[in-house]
């Protein structure tokens, strides 16, 4: 267990910019020099946006998000996060700006207790002790970790460990948060908590980037979807537009949520909306079905 460092929070140069992330012509080539993982990507993410990134493995999703927090530096082009050029900063220096929740919590957790795990991040970036205590209390409550705060992170069940992994980043309260496959291997219950969390973060104005194969999750929470294929961004639109584009979905071997698929083959040809969730589809159908019922009654 490392001694927490007690340096003060680094002064974050708040440049006058409305952009959370600005990627210009960024490429990434693996050090071996053979594999191009990202090829001339341009992307602008506004503050407070909630963004999903989809695509098959190897399409460059994870590489792109690692450029955001400086884990990788672009081989060409620029990545500006909160007005800071990531090329000039270490990952540790980027940590107060941007949080990164790894796919596998086992890669992230190492403290003796869940409590210590949640305190670790904020302490590293110099948050005052009282403030840390407050944030940890809130996180414990939100994620329902009351019963496990004194447990070793590896003694709790995998789904709970996943939540601890997420909570350990949330307590750092970064203005940008990246999730890598938050719902992988999770049951509906845990996915639900993650879902709620993303909404809450959005309401608080946090910029959220979510890399996921879980289309229903994205359909439910994100406002914008980026589709990646073979190292490039090939589409950037609302989930409604993306999921409605059957050619795009087929090209990338992705499947829209079932509700969207049903809507596309039923109400959409009649001029109806592209539903993203069961309740959206149900309410559209309800409107259509009830709109006619009174009229038939009247003619009787």
């Amino acid at each position: 267990m490392p001694e927490p460092t007690t340096t003060t929070a680094p002064a974050i140069a708040q440049l006058d910019t409305s952009l959370a992330i600005e990627v210009t012509g960024a490429s990434y080539v693996y050090p071996s020099g053979h594999v191009v993982a990202l090829d001339g990507v341009d992307l602008r993410v506004e503050r407070g946006e909630i963004l999903g990134i989809i695509g098959q493995n190897g399409s460059g999703k994870t590489t792109l998000t690692k450029l955001f927090n400086g884990l990788l530096k672009p081989s060409a082009g620029r990545v500006i996060v909160n007005g800071v050029d990531t090329a000039t900063k270490t990952v540790q220096q980027m940590a107060p700006h941007i949080g990164y929740v790894f796919q596998n919590p086992n890669h992230q957790l190492f403290a003796r207790t869940v409590q210590a795990e949640l305190e670790f991040g904020p302490r590293n970036i110099g948050v005052p002790a009282e403030e840390i205590a407050e944030r940890v209390r809130n996180a414990v409550e939100f994620f329902g970790l009351q019963d496990v705060v004194d447990e070793h992170p590896y003694r709790v069940s995998f789904p709970v460990r996943k939540l601890v992994g997420i909570a350990s980043i949330v307590t750092m309260q970064p203005s940008i948060l990246i999730f890598d496959e938050p719902s992988t291997g999770q049951d509906h219950q845990t996915t639900h908590i993650i879902n709620d969390l993303m909404r809450r973060l959005r309401d608080e104005g946090t910029t959220v980037v979510c890399v996921s194969h879980d289309m229903p999750l994205l359909a439910d929470v994100v406002e914008r979807v980026i589709v990646m294929k073979e190292t490039r961004i090939i589409a950037d639109a609302s989930p409604r537009e993306v999921f409605a584009d059957q050619t795009l979905m087929a090209r990338t071997n992705l499947q829209a949520p079932q509700s969207t698929q049903i809507a596309l083959a039923t109400v959409v040809p009649l001029g109806g909306p592209v539903a993203l969730t069961p309740s959206e589809l149900a309410s559209d159908l309800e409107r259509r079905l009830t709109a006619h019922v009174p009229s038939t009654k009247i003619t009787k």
């Binding site: 884990l71 540790q92 940590a95 190492f110 991040g121 750092m172």
Partner: protein, 297 residues
């Protein structure tokens, strides 16, 4: 996504003459090289061995990866030679060949330095060429034929296999820690990563043991082998030539009391002086670069 990191020493696929030789003759050559290297102090033999091994590498088409792996020789060679010049490992009296400041340089140890280096270089190149031209599975099948226990063999193979996996795991874990703003450099930064690495390793082993047991790994009965290593006449020729050549040279060396040529091959004073300057500078540069990278991270 496949993220296979190439080990510096791994098989380089190919179909050269050398690739096609079965592991046993190759192993005979490696063992023979080591035996000969340590039974002679004749630098002509030692460096001819190194040259011969290098020629085999060229024939096998593994020159580039071999040279890459041989980078490890740079610090070894430079430190070894520099040390032999300032503190020869031979009996006094030493003859001074010059001074750098207060540092006295001697020529007496240079021959011995080249002998040590020649032994390392020759054995290392031969061993690397064999590793790079032999499928690991064939090697392990041969080990099994030599009655090396199955479990030992399996564990060795597994370990080789898992090195790149663990390299990758450690990389991911370090990234995760850094993303949480972890400060500190060197050992203190690596330390917390050990917990996840160990937990990951234990989970992997538990899972693997269930998976292996379900495939009959623990069964006591007779095991068969899918990989068939069949020796052809050419393999026998290679093995016999190896044994004869090495045995001859080794016997000749031993008959001549290691065949030491230090009284025949003499190094001019200026050569020793400049050799030291070059070796010491290279070694210093290696140290500086290493330290620089450690702190940069």
């Amino acid at each position: 996504m496949s993220m296979q990191m190439a080990l510096p020493i791994a098989m380089i696929p190919g179909n050269s003459l050398i690739h096609r030789i079965t592991p046993l003759p190759k192993m005979i050559w490696v063992v023979g090289y080591i035996v000969l290297a340590f039974s002679t102090t004749n630098i002509v033999i030692l460096y001819s061995m190194a040259l011969f091994a290098f020629l085999i590498a060229v024939i096998s088409g593994v020159t580039r990866p071999l040279l890459k792996a041989c980078v490890i020789l740079v610090p070894i060679a430079s430190s070894l030679l520099a040390l032999q010049i300032i503190a020869p490992a031979v009996e006094k009296p030493w003859t001074s060949v010059g001074h750098i400041g207060a540092l006295a340089l001697y020529g007496n140890g240079v021959y011995y330095g080249f002998v040590l280096l020649g032994r390392i270089v020759a054995s290392l190149i031969m061993a690397l060429v064999v590793v790079m031209t032999t499928h690991p599975s064939d090697l392990f099948t041969t080990f099994a034929k030599l009655k090396i226990p199955y479990t030992f063999n399996f564990m060795l193979a597994m370990t080789l296999q898992l090195i790149p996996v663990f390299q990758r795991e450690v990389g991911i874990i370090m990234s995760a820690q850094k993303s949480r703003g972890m400060k500190g450099r060197g050992f203190s930064a690596v330390l917390p990563s050990f917990v996840p690495v160990f937990v990951g390793a234990i989970e992997r082993v538990q899972q693997l043991s269930i998976s292996l047991e379900s495939r009959g790994f623990g069964s006591a009965g007779i095991k068969t082998s899918y990989r068939q290593v069949k020796s052809r006449p050419s393999d026998w020729v290679v093995a016999i030539v190896g044994v004869v050549a090495i045995a001859t040279l080794a016997t000749m060396s031993i008959m001549r009391g290691t065949w030491n040529l230090s009284t025949v091959i003499l190094f001019p004073h200026a050569f020793v002086f400049w050799l030291f300057v070059v070796a010491a500078s290279v070694f210093a540069a290696v140290i500086l670069v290493t330290v620089f990278y450690m702190f940069k991270r």
